[in-house]
């Protein structure tokens, strides 16, 4: 394999195109590692990229560096961006469309969290706005930007291609437990749940479904990473909209 071939990315027209935020996190990395053979993934990360083959990084055998490796077959398209800057949202969506010419699935997995008491410390209070910006508002901005740039002008295709949004929420949004220090995280996910339902109503006019996925803390024995990835696939392949798929170790339940 020549030097230039390190950059070559295999692309199948049958793959669905997924725009994924939070790709550098545990969930995002697992999504890229395990689903890159099923999706063409635009992996948006703020810090370190996911440890998977991308347009910039690949695996080699040190004793046979020119030998093509199967592990490099399905590379993700990694984009570094700070999505708290609205201009970066525009740039990311433009890059995704320039690279793949369509977006079939938007997975909002970027997350910000800070845990602590409301009284006795400013730490949680100081983080509240950012948690809501990243966990609640950013998913809406991402979806609206994709809609404005692509889905609004392809509304007939959107139905036939079953295009949709999956917002990564949490079962922490269903309970109030002061001892967890999760007032900011939990309520930002409550907002995300309801924003997902409002989005689902409005996005019907462009033929795009919107749902949320609410796992308990993961990966654990009760909620392994595989179950969360399967949850995304269930929502992506289904027909539901405005629903929350709960993964609490008791089997997937739609709310």
């Amino acid at each position: 394999m020549g030097k230039g071939e390190h950059r070559r990315m295999e692309r199948s027209p049958r793959k669905r195109v997924c725009l994924l935020t939070g790709a550098g996190g545990a969930f995002g990395s697992a999504f890229c590692q395990q689903l890159a053979s099923d999706y063409d993934i635009v992996a948006v990360h703020r810090g370190a990229p996911p440890q998977v083959p991308t347009q910039d990084q690949s695996r080699i055998d040190p004793l046979d560096p020119r030998k093509p490796l199967v592990v490099n077959t399905h590379r993700v398209f990694a984009v570094q961006a700070d999505l708290e800057d609205d201009r970066e949202i525009d740039r990311v969506v433009e890059l995704a469309l320039a690279r793949y010419e369509r977006i079939d699935l938007l997975v909002n997995a970027a997350v910000s969290y800070s845990f602590g008491p409301l009284l006795g410390s400013r730490r949680l209070l100081d983080s509240l706005e950012q948690q809501f910006r990243v966990n609640s508002i950013l998913p809406v901005k991402m979806a609206v930007t994709v809609a404005e740039r692509f889905w609004q002008v392809h509304d007939q295709d959107n139905l036939s291609e079953n295009r949709n949004v999956v917002n990564l929420s949490s079962t922490a949004s269903f309970t109030v437990r002061a001892d967890t220090g999760g007032a900011g995280y939990s309520t930002s996910k409550v907002a995300l749940n309801y924003l997902s339902r409002f989005m689902a109503q409005e996005f019907k006019r462009v033929g795009v479904r919107v749902n949320a996925l609410a796992p308990a803390a993961f990966p654990t024995a009760e909620v392994p990473m595989r179950a969360v990835l399967d949850g995304v696939r269930q929502l992506d392949s289904g027909a539901m909209t405005g629903r929350i798929l709960v993964l609490d170790g008791q089997g997937p339940q739609l709310r």
């Binding site: 950059r7 910039d56 990084q57 690949s58 695996r59 040190p62 560096p65």
Partner: protein
């Protein structure tokens, strides 16, 4: 149980790479410039042998002035201690100056290496300063005493690596540093925040504390990159604990560099002193 190959390597020639390389899936990353990284490079038994060999050198003590028999402060612009591999080195550490290792690194980086090698142990004591953002591309000098396998290890008793001076000055040849490889070892328990990373930069003007990538000195891991006019890197300070590594440079012909990057590149060589001044 220690394998026969590893046992033989304690004092003799290094074992075949196929027997001791544990990781056959290294990363190639093009940002901020092409480099290779891997963790779990060697089998645990051979890695332990490398650590033991390093500690045998360490037990000789450290010197504050240049001393070829010990880790010593022999780099002008660095506060690290270095021990240059002697040309007749045997034992586990000699794997880094073996023909097989040389050819593997050269093939990986696609560099026409000449067989001239400079290899050393580096020890950055806790509290070492940040390095400066630099590239390693520059002239190096070698006396000519190649081994039977064609590898020509640096021999400072015959010829200065920096300027070619010494008893064999007349027959010394000038080369250019072609590849830098840093193998991290004996840094057990390293954690983020301990420092001692090798930082990589897009531009030489980038602040040393704001690299594009910081490669952690995790035990049994390696960083490899071709020396180009753009391979800027630096050592990041290690406030709480020492950092140990093996540093290896491969070399290429001067004419090869001129062909690839032009004579203008050579003008910069005088601005960065070799050996005594560069400390990745």
């Amino acid at each position: 149980m220690t394998s026969p190959a590893v046992s033989r390597a304690r004092s003799g020639p290094p074992p075949p790479l196929t027997e001791v390389l544990a990781n056959r899936r290294w990363w190639r990353d093009d940002r901020p410039f092409p480099h290779f990284r891997a963790q779990g490079v060697f089998t645990p038994a051979f890695y332990d042998a490398l650590v033991e060999h390093r500690r045998r050198v360490e037990r000789r003590g450290r010197s504050e002035t240049a001393d070829p028999s010990r880790l010593s402060r022999n780099m002008l612009n660095s506060d690290a201690y270095a021990w240059d591999f002697p040309p007749d080195l045997g034992g586990p550490l000699s794997i880094f100056v073996s023909r097989a290792w040389h050819d593997m690194i050269a093939a990986m980086t696609d560099v026409p290496a000449t067989g001239d090698v400079n290899c050393a142990l580096h020890h950055h004591h806790a509290g070492s300063r940040d390095g400066f953002v630099h590239g390693d591309l520059g002239v190096a000098w070698f006396s000519r005493q190649p081994r039977a396998d064609g590898i020509n290890p640096m021999d400072l008793a015959r010829c200065s690596y920096t300027d070619g001076s010494g008893p064999e000055h007349a027959s010394a040849v000038d080369r250019v540093r072609a590849v830098t490889a840093i193998f991290y070892l004996d840094n057990e328990g390293w954690q983020p925040g301990d420092g001692g990373e090798t930082a990589l930069y897009l531009r030489q003007s980038d602040p040393v504390r704001r690299p594009a990538v910081a490669v952690a000195p995790v035990d049994n891991s390696i960083l490899v990159f071709e020396n180009t006019p753009h391979s800027y890197h630096a050592f990041l300070r290690n406030p709480t604990r020492a950092r140990n590594s093996v540093i290896l440079w491969l070399h290429r012909a001067n004419s090869d560099v001129m062909t690839r990057w032009g004579v203008e590149v050579a003008k910069s060589w005088g601005q960065v002193p070799l050996d005594g001044g560069i400390d990745p």
